[in-house]
């Protein structure tokens, strides 16, 4: 199982990776923005993507649109502070698979990961 985590906060990536490790996932690639994420995505095969929304260079939404534009159906979970209805709809229409608003309990993220890692 190979997972790509895109977030401009290094510490948030570590928090997410800690939860991934607790789910048994150790093959994790990190990206500090959507552009880096897209570069990694094109260069390798992943089973799951977790992305923040607000990032420099390329936002999580743009990154998601690139993934779907390339025809990929990989599960993409948006992990973000953006909780406004219009934003959530925008992400859903762009093809997001699941959505988790910050702040979250680690168990909440774990429950979502369990769902997609089991596929």
């Amino acid at each position: 199982m190979k997972v790509l985590v895109a977030d401009d906060s290094g510490v948030m990536r570590k928090i997410i990776i800690r939860v991934l490790n607790s789910c048994g996932v150790t093959d994790v690639t990190e990206a500090a923005d959507g552009q880096q994420g897209w570069t990694h995505f094109q260069a390798s095969e992943f089973d799951l993507v977790l992305t923040d929304w607000n990032m420099p260079e390329m936002s999580g939404l743009e990154f998601l649109r690139e993934i779907r534009g390339a025809g990929s159906k990989i599960p993409v979970i948006m992990v973000t502070t953006e909780g406004e209805k219009g934003k959530v709809i925008e992400a859903i229409q762009a093809g997001v698979t699941d959505y988790l608003c910050k702040p979250f309990e680690q168990e909440e993220l774990q429950a979502k990961l369990d769902r997609y890692l089991a596929i």
Binding site: V11, T81, I92, P103
Partner: protein, 181 residues
Amino acid sequence: MNPLATVEAELLASVLGRNDRTLGTRVDAKLDQASVIESLVDASESVLSTMCKITVENTRTSSGCAVRRNELSGVVGLTGALRAMVSINVSKDLIFHAAESLLGVRPTAMDADVIDLVGELANMIVGNAKERLHHKDLILGLPTVVNGTGHVVVFPKDMDLSVINFETNVGGLQIELGIKR
């Protein structure tokens, strides 16, 4: 806007349902000082208890500048319908506890992770407060972190200032808010 398919509508309902439970369903957005202070208090309690298992209680809110000198501050701006600047001031003890809770290891020094965490917590608290205000035309800026014992965050002169004090179970937390007149 195209109607959502069943799966998408279920996802939307699930996300908005969680938000209603955690953020409240206030619909008449007021952007006065009292509403912003209330949303910051609620957001601080929510973010620190949910993410870091830190209990937070608002003890006193006053007008004017903070008297206390700071150890670490995460400063975030809000623009759009409101021009505001928020400084989340935390003690070393509090941020070390938060780091231990989130990363599983207590830091021994003020390293890059600790500095990054101050910015991330400030981003989450102000972002969560913004969501609680339920106002579409509010834009969250990127956080800036100030590290240095005894520092003071200086606000622009055309802002009305408030200081929100908290008691926590692990260390100091104070929020300074400036709203442009």
